[in-house]
Amino acid sequence: MSIEVKNVNKRFGDFVALDDVSVSLPTGQLTALLGPSGGGKSTLLRIIAGLDSADSGTVSIEGVDATHLPPQKRNIGFVFQHYAAFKHMTVAKNVAFGLEIRKKPKPEVERKVAELLDLVHLSQFAGRLPAQLSGGQRQRMALARALAVEPTVLLLDEPFGALDAKVRKELRDWLRRLHDEVHVTTVFVTHDQEEALEVADEIVVINQGRVEQVGAPDALYDAPANDFVMSFLGDVTTLGGQLIRPHDIELDVLPGEPGAVEGVVSRMLRIGFEVRVTVLTDNGEVVTVELTRTHARRLGIAEGTTVYMSAVMGATRV
């Protein structure tokens, strides 16, 4: 295990940011710390980096107790949401910073910087100032800068949070590919479950200062430990008093299955290829069901139609 966090507590005044958090993050993997804003995930990342200190508990990185080490002695790479570019230095100088601090010989620095700029596709911008780059380019520069010092762990704090949706998606794919090439242990913070599910090998769900669940994306999606994880990872609705995903409900106009719940369609909303149906059951439950447009047409349902709902085989329910 690369990063071992044990019994960490952190308060900001009366606010409990982390409540006895223990978590192990595996070597060489891409781990996401996922949770709502203010849940404590950034605080945990900053404590791992040494930018904040825990009130109690320990942090070890690759077997070394780092609890009381200052950030510059932890051999980490940190990428900030707002890039934290060194404004007065060129792109190449930004990337070279960590190497120059380490007093590496000049030819080595130059070679390494050229290599990294190539990796993040910024070679032609080496001589520019950060102000002359777009947000996505600045964040790639920040990544190259963090990777330059060959960190034991790479920590990213909502790295794509300040970018627009399209660039965000591009950089997300790119980060995944980069990680497959570089293999450095990477931890990134996000509040976007899609981002976590798509990019991470492992997800740590954090809410209200506590770890709710740790696991692979599929495991979390298919077997959520509780209501919170279930509802945070995707859309949910209730059927027969249980949480269920709207696309895990089978809809029929005939009372086929025994135990199917009867209801009346109160609203239909078409979004592209899918149809979102709101069904009112006899005992007053409001159920949302998602099905494809073709399926809905085949069933011939409309507002006011009586339908029967049952969970599909293998549906996730909490």
Binding site: F78, F80, F97, I101
Partner: protein, 305 residues
């Protein structure tokens, strides 16, 4: 206990951004209002403002220049040959440069403390720093004399027993000058530090830079124009200080007389030509400082962002 303030700064950053917007909108409205005014009133106001500046600043200043060069360069030459004047000018420069250097180190340090750390009594300290702007320099001088004089001051007798004379000597003059110019660098550096935030500093730390390396490689380049501007202002202020230094220095010609004190003394001794010449030199130095600032200012604000 000193907690980092990044979040709060970010909040303040956004609020000041909104303030700027509001201000620029107000400015637009104001200019629109001026456009609607009748020309007679506009011209009247202009004449009033120009006249006010003329009577208060330009005319008197011009008189000094005129009197300095009344006999060509003779006045200036005579003044510069006077050993008292020579000594005073050198002393003024020495004291000013020393005071500016001290204020530079102290000012940048206090600015960092005020912006980057949270501690008990921070607001009180911040308010205290503005004190020299509101207190009369003569009072400052007197206060220093009371504390440091060799006969009945708090520290004076002890220091004098150990061979350190503060009052009626250079240390006292430097202290007085430091005091009056104290807020100038801090008030320049603090807002720039606030705007800069500490993201870059944290990034540098995470990349392996020590606190000292971070300060020199990241913080100083970020605030360098504010420092230059503050230094020039402090220098101008220090060169022109009169009251505090006069009380502390004891006014011994050729020993503890600064340029401003010489002006007063020469004027009272009916050596007007010399007084005007030294005044001219002081005013010239001040104008030079302002020109330097004016040349630096736009570069510091726009060119570097």
């Amino acid at each position: 206990m000193a907690r980092r303030l990044s979040e709060r700064q970010r909040e303040r950053g956004t609020s000041s951004g909104a303030g700027r917007e509001r201000r620029s909108r107000r400015a637009q409205r104001a200019s629109a209002a001026v456009g609607r005014r009748n020309p007679a009133l506009t011209w009247g106001l202009r004449v009033l403002v120009v006249g006010y500046l003329l009577m208060l600043v330009l005319w008197p200043s011009w008189y000094v220049v005129q009197h300095t060069f009344a006999d060509g360069l003779t006045g200036l030459r005579t003044a510069l040959q006077d050993p008292d004047v020579q000594h005073a000018l050198v002393l003024t420069l020495e004291v000013s440069v020393a005071a500016v250097l001290i204020n530079l180190v102290f000012g940048v340090g206090v600015s960092l403390l005020l912006v980057r750390y949270d501690f008990w009594g921070k607001r009180a300290l911040s308010a205290l720093i503005d004190l020299p702007l509101s207190v009369s320099p003569v009072v400052v001088g007197l206060a220093l004399v009371l504390v440091y004089n060799g006969r009945y001051g708090w520290f004076g007798p002890w220091l004098e027993a150990h061979g350190v004379q503060i009052i009626f000597a250079r240390p006292g003059m430097i202290m007085a000058t430091c005091f009056v110019a104290l807020p100038l660098i801090i008030r320049e550096v603090v807002p720039v530090l606030e705007e800069l935030g500490d993201d870059q500093e944290q990034a540098a730390r995470s990349l392996g830079a020590s606190g000292w390396q971070t300060f020199w490689r990241i913080t100083v380049p970020g605030i360098r124009w504010a420092i230059v501007y503050g230094v020039v202002l402090s220098l101008a202020r220090s060169l022109g200080e009169f009251g505090a230094v006069k009380v502390v220095a004891g006014n011994v010609a050729g020993q503890t007389q600064t340029a401003t004190v010489v002006v007063q003394q020469k004027y009272q001794n009916f050596e007007q030509a010399t007084a005007y010449s030294v005044s001219f030199l002081l005013a010239f130095a001040a104008v030079l400082c302002l020109i330097v600032v004016a040349l630096l200012r736009p570069k510091g604000v726009e060119g570097k962002r």
